[in-house]
Symmetry: C2
Subunit: 199 residues, 2 copies
């Protein structure tokens, strides 16, 4: 039985999971969730993911929450050492960028898009300054590196790319970050790549 | 040569690293950083950690940022499979809680403490409601589980415990979360445990 993704098409976090599945050639059973109706906050979904968020993932009787953790699972199960190595240095370097996706990118371009595109009430000045901060750091890093964590593509790139590539929906021009924009293009050129609305 | 921790004693994120080192019996070369003087945002430290934050960690020529990523490194290098397993399910379940440390706990009890104890300007109402949300989720979870991620202690517990145990410095009474408080006591009872001011 294929792994199941409880999905919202416009969510960059759900898209990460769809993207890695496509790159790994792993079939997913994609279950669209009535997000506006709050289905993710009610049974049966909230019994799979107590945090009441999307994506939620199910495989082989295991329920998983958090897009970064789901990428870790998929990479270990279907990607060998390539997408996520298990040596101390490699795993830690990838993890450090998974944390950027969970923290700085979430509180930057993701929050700015939630405000601008979906009308969320949040501190938009803080989100914009967080966005400039993290994109500036990524620009400096990617001016000297092809991929974020290692000398090859890893789930660090898959975790960080979506909300960066969607940052124009939160008021950012990619032209201001040419090394970041070139990196997004490298991800888009990977064999098996799939997009989402806005990417 | 011992691994080096660029440290701030009152930081719960730095404390995580000191705590895991103590539990693993690994010596650390602890380098106190002049945080108020902004030494972490200037060379030479900013050359090791472009994000200009603490902790920063160095071992064997590798510089690492982010407390969760540093725990991953230490667990893989010195902890075998016990503190961080590498099978798909185990690694993903631990990672999901590392993400709670990086996101919900950081934006909850950590932010509330930054405001109340250190005078940071931030949305304290948001921080307090985030705190109640994540501690409520943890209370429900720990009412049925001994440890956060697996049936044994892992770095998930080490990553999540400090700012939860410090939440009284951000206006929370541990009495409101008895299962969480009992879990904190279990961490404190681990052989080799060390505390920090406030814990």
């Amino acid at each position: 039985m294929a792994a199941k993704l409880y999905d919202l098409e416009l969510s960059g976090n759900c898209y990460k999971v769809r993207l890695l599945a496509a790159l790994l050639g792993v079939p997913l059973d994609i279950v669209p969730v009535d997000f506006l109706g709050g289905a993710h906050k009610k049974p049966p979904l909230v019994d799979l993911n107590a945090f009441g968020e999307l994506p939620t993932f199910e495989d082989d009787g295991l329920a998983l929450r958090d897009s970064q953790a789901i990428l870790v699972y998929m990479a270990r199960k279907w990607g060998g050492e390539s997408w996520l190595p298990t040596d101390a240095a490699g795993l830690a370097l990838v993890t450090a960028w998974l944390m950027v996706a969970e923290n700085e990118i979430a509180r930057g371009p993701n929050d700015a898009r939630l405000h601008d595109k979906f009308g969320y009430k949040l501190d938009i000045q803080r989100a914009r300054s967080n966005t400039a901060h993290v994109l500036g750091l990524m620009e400096n890093h990617l001016a000297r590196a092809t991929w974020l964590a290692l000398d090859r593509v890893t789930i660090a790139d898959i975790a960080c790319m979506p909300y960066v590539a969607l940052s124009h929906e939160g008021g950012v021009s990619a032209d201001d970050y040419p090394a970041v924009a070139a990196w997004v293009q490298r991800v888009k050129a990977l064999p098996g790549f799939v997009g989402m609305p806005g990417i």
